[in-house]
């Protein structure tokens, strides 16, 4: 119920924003009603890696394998391969609650229709990205504010399609809510609702609102690992004004962190352990 209301609220927000941002559209084309495309389903499986190189520097990496529903079955989540997504970066931890990251992303976008000879099997989408991430504690809950900026070159899979450049602006708010511990720590079961809104600009972009993603996940921390999974619902305009799409995505993520700094040195001596 809560999810439904949330979706409805976001739809309204997006609609309002689309009208306010693009008054010309309203003026030029009299769109009297919104068209929501039938929802599609996808399955995103991601591996997140953060390696601590020093007290301040981290290596950041994401590798995703994304599939989407079949052409003839919108609800099978895994009918077609969608993307292979690789994000890399270097993170500098300014403080425990503030870090900046930058790096390249390489995404392979696969053909929407493997049978269709008009499509190339995959296209490469290179990006340069950077982000700020701030965290805050609200009681037991950890709230993350992620400001991500991407500069990408993307083309469709149609043979001969050109690369189009866009700048992307993303803001995600995430809440880590520990369920079995007083705070987020090791062996903690948690809920992690989040919402990410995407804005995009470019010469060919008519609507700067790209998408909104609502994600409700449940996760568990175990030593260096974090298991994360849940349902994400995306809603956003298509290239056709007034037409919106939405997707239900099942996400399964595995996070892994490793501290590559100096080996452990015990602070106690053998004599401390003798009677």
């Amino acid at each position: 119920m809560l999810l439904k209301n949330l979706c409805r609220g976001i739809k309204v927000l997006v609609f309002l924003m689309s009208i306010s941002i693009n008054p010309s559209i309203a003026q030029e084309t009299a769109i009297t009603e919104r068209t929501n495309l039938a929802p599609t389903t996808e399955s995103w499986n991601g591996f997140y890696l953060k390696l601590r190189l020093s007290d301040k520097w981290f290596w950041y990496q994401e590798n995703h394998y994304r599939r989407k529903n079949s052409i003839d079955n919108r609800s099978d989540f895994v009918g077609r391969i969608s993307q292979v997504y690789n994000r890399f970066g270097l993170t500098y931890l300014i403080a425990d609650n503030f870090e900046v990251t930058f790096g390249p992303t390489l995404v392979w976008n696969f053909t929407p229709d493997p049978e269709n000879p008009e499509f190339v099997n995959s296209t490469l989408e290179p990006r340069f990205w950077h982000q700020w991430l701030l965290t805050q504690n609200v009681g037991r809950v950890k709230v993350l504010h992620q400001f991500r900026f991407e500069h990408r070159y993307k083309r469709s899979n149609l043979i001969g399609a050109d690369y189009l450049y866009t700048n992307r602006y993303r803001y995600k708010i995430t809440a880590y809510i520990p369920l079995n511990k007083p705070r987020m720590e090791n062996k903690t079961l948690f809920l992690a609702p989040s919402n990410e809104i995407f804005f995009e600009t470019g010469n060919h972009i008519l609507n700067i609102l790209e998408e909104n993603r609502v994600y409700t996940a449940i996760g568990y921390t175990h030593n260096n690992f974090m298991f994360f999974g849940g349902h994400m619902w995306t809603y956003g305009p298509t290239s056709t004004p007034g037409t919106f799409r939405n997707r239900h995505i099942i996400r399964l993520n595995l996070m892994y962190t490793l501290d590559l700094r100096n080996k452990r040195r015990p602070v106690i001596k053998a004599t401390d352990l003798k009677f």
Binding site: Y48, K50, R52, F58, T91, L93, D96, N97, T135, K142, L144, Y176, R183, M184, E185, N186, T221, N223, M226, M255, T257, D259, K263, R264, R265, P266, V267, I268, A270, D272, L273, K274, F275
Partner: protein
């Protein structure tokens, strides 16, 4: 002819005579340090042989009292290092006391003593006429103090009649007597001297060195002090004179001043000679103080120029063996008596029983008896007993050869007296045999008392030993029970309390009771003592291990802390403690838990230490593994692994 030849050769070849040299310098004469000039010749190995004139001078202020001044002058001659010819001694002691200084003139009080001796020697021995005078100077006048004129020496002994006078306030003290050839005291000797505040006249009758009798009178009131006649001596002399002596004769040796025909120290015959002999000795010390052969450096008379004589008695063969045996027996007896009379354990425990009280008193009595017996035994040992007329002992048996001894002692509130009786068969046996037999009886009695003491003390020692042991056990047990209880104490965790409580039950109660039963069952002292020592060892061991037991959990907590590290989760942006090498740590904890359970259930006290050592070893190993690369090990560790398997994997 020989002498002529030598003299002729010397005349012709004077270099044959050893050349005389002169010494002048520091010299010590009979302990007196001064200066000397004397002629000497050099003998073999550059030995100095005084030969010729000799002069000695001493001028010395007393080191402790500088008002006293000594002056000594000695002139004489040596011949081949021996005194020869006339020697003159002059020795003065002046006491100068400053009284005043008038018109720059010193007014002093001078008190002096002057000693002058003119003596004569031949070949180092007094020989010839001696004259002695002692003067006193006081109040400006020189007064005679003592004199002896016409003392004649012959070959080191005084001969002929002589007289010595001392002038004292009360009257003149003197010695007048006659000495035969060889220095033998003879005829009537008159001594006048002070003794115990009385002015005593003592007349002695000697015959060729034998004292026949003496009479002492108080000159102030003419009362008789003592009269002694040495009848047995007279009797023996008559027999000798009549050639009727049997078993004895006059000894060839000459003896000192003290005449002893067979008298012990406590005999009247000895006691009554002492005062007169002391007076004669003081006279002899004065005139012979410069002769080392007669007076030693301490001023003691070591040889006398006047002598007495004694009889020598035959000792038969049987008695001769007793002569050897008696001192040996005595020495053995003395050793035991000395040991037991000074035995602390006996003194301390004498009130434990009447037999010990008696034994203590016995040994104290025998200590005195042994000392008294010592004089007699000394005579046996030195063979001087041969000069003793044992008839005296037969008439007057020495007091220490009593036929019974009374032992008085206190036990409880009672004064008790016990008697030891000796069998003395003096009718048949000689004195030697009697003494030997008496000693045998003394030895038997001493052995008897000794064995009583030894047995009693050993038992007391054992009982006391066991009592002390039990007391120690009791004290230590109470202390350990208290130590292993908590009684409302806080600051200890429930785990620590549980561990200590388990030890208290298993070791301090169950194991202790088991050992206690063993102890109680034993009758034999040694085994009982051993069993008791084991109990003490248990308690001591638990005392030692107690602080270690309390540390077990604390140390484990340290290890727990070590195996937790703070991490920063870069996904959740939180810092928290996270277990390091979880599988390894869990394995270590499993083994630790096993060891702990073993300690808690252990009933053998010696094994507690073993388990503690194992825990220590485990902790150290876990510390080593913390820093090591344990990836392979952790992969092999399995939660289902047995304890022995885990121990093997952890290299314990």
């Amino acid at each position: 002819m020989k002498r002529f030849t030598v003299s002729f050769l010397i005349l012709l070849f004077p270099f044959l005579l050893p050349a005389q040299q002169l010494y002048s310098g520091a010299y010590t004469f009979n302990g007196l340090k001064g200066e000397s000039v004397f002629e000497f010749i050099q003998g073999k190995n550059e030995e100095v042989i005084k030969d010729g004139n000799f002069q000695f001078f001493r001028k010395q202020i007393d080191k402790l009292d500088n008002t006293i001044f000594y002056s000594t002058e000695i002139i004489g001659q040596f011949q081949n290092n021996l005194k020869s010819g006339i020697w003159e001694y002059e020795d003065e002691r002046h006491n100068v006391v400053l009284k005043d200084i008038e018109d720059f003139k010193v007014v002093i009080d001078l008190n002096s003593e002057q000693f002058k001796l003119k003596s004569s020697y031949s070949q180092g021995i007094p020989d010839g006429r001696w004259a002695f005078v002692q003067n006193e100077f006081s109040e400006g006048k020189l007064k005679p103090k003592a004199q002896a004129e016409e003392i004649r020496f012959k070959k080191g002994d005084i001969v002929g009649k002589f007289q010595y006078k001392e002038f004292n306030g009360k009257g003149t003290h003197f010695i007048r007597g006659e000495v035969l050839e060889g220095g033998l005291m003879n005829g009537e000797w008159t001594l006048v001297y002070e003794d115990g505040g009385r002015f005593v006249s003592e007349i002695r009758k000697y015959e060729k060195g034998f004292l026949l009798g003496l009479v002492k009178r108080d000159l102030e009131n003419d009362s008789l002090i003592e009269e002694l006649v040495f009848f047995k001596t007279i009797e023996k002399l008559q027999l000798v004179n009549n050639k009727q002596n049997s078993g004895f004769r006059i000894a060839d040796e000459k003896f000192g001043l003290f005449f002893n025909d067979g008298f012990l120290e406590d005999y009247k015959e000895v006691i009554e000679q002492n005062s007169g002999n002391a007076f004669i000795s003081s006279f002899l010390r004065k005139i012979l103080k410069f002769d080392e052969a007669f007076v030693n450096a301490e001023g003691l008379l070591i040889e006398t120029p006047i002598h007495t004589k004694r009889f020598v008695f035959e000792i038969n063969r049987d008695d001769q063996s007793a002569l050897v045996g008696i001192p040996l027996k005595y020495n053995g007896l003395k050793e035991i008596v000395t040991e037991y009379s000074e035995k602390n354990a006996l003194a301390l425990n004498r009130f434990q029983s009447d037999s010990l009280a008696k034994a203590h008193a016995f040994f104290q009595l025998y200590k005195v008896k042994i000392t008294q017996l010592g004089e007699l035994v000394k005579l046996f040992d030195s063979k001087d007993i041969q000069y003793f007329d044992l008839g005296y002992f037969e008439e007057r048996r020495p007091s220490f050869l009593s036929d019974k001894d009374l032992i008085n002692f206190t036990f409880g509130d009672e004064e008790i007296q016990k008697t030891i009786e000796y069998t003395i068969d003096d009718q048949e046996k000689s004195f030697f045999a009697l003494t030997d037999s008496y000693l045998d009886q003394m030895v038997a009695e001493v052995e008897r008392q000794k064995s009583i003491v030894d047995f009693a003390l050993r038992r007391i020692e054992k009982n006391e030993g066991l009592r002390n042991l039990e007391k120690n056990i009791q004290v230590k047990k109470e202390a350990m029970v208290k130590l292993y209880s908590f009684d409302g104490e806080d600051g200890f965790s429930s785990e620590e309390k549980s561990l200590v409580e388990a030890i208290r039950v298993n070791i301090l109660t169950t194991a202790f009771n088991r050992l206690n039963e063993n102890y109680a069952k034993e009758d034999d002292f040694e085994l009982k003592n051993q069993a008791g020592q084991v109990i003490l060892d248990l308690l001591s061991e638990m005392e030692i291990q107690h602080p270690k037991l309390l540390k077990i959990h604390a140390v484990n907590a340290t290890l727990d802390d070590l195996y937790m590290e703070e991490v920063f989760n870069p996904f959740t942006y939180t810092r928290y403690d996270q277990r390091v090498k979880e599988r390894l740590f869990e394995a270590g904890q499993k083994v630790f838990g096993y060891y702990l359970d073993q300690i808690k259930s252990e009933q053998e006290y010696t094994e507690i230490k073993t388990w503690l050592n194992k825990i220590e070893k485990l902790n150290v190993r876990m510390l080593e593994l913390y820093s090591a690369d344990t990836r392979r090990l952790e992969r092999r560790l399995n939660r289902r692994e047995s304890i022995s398997g885990l121990k093997s994997l952890l290299d314990l």
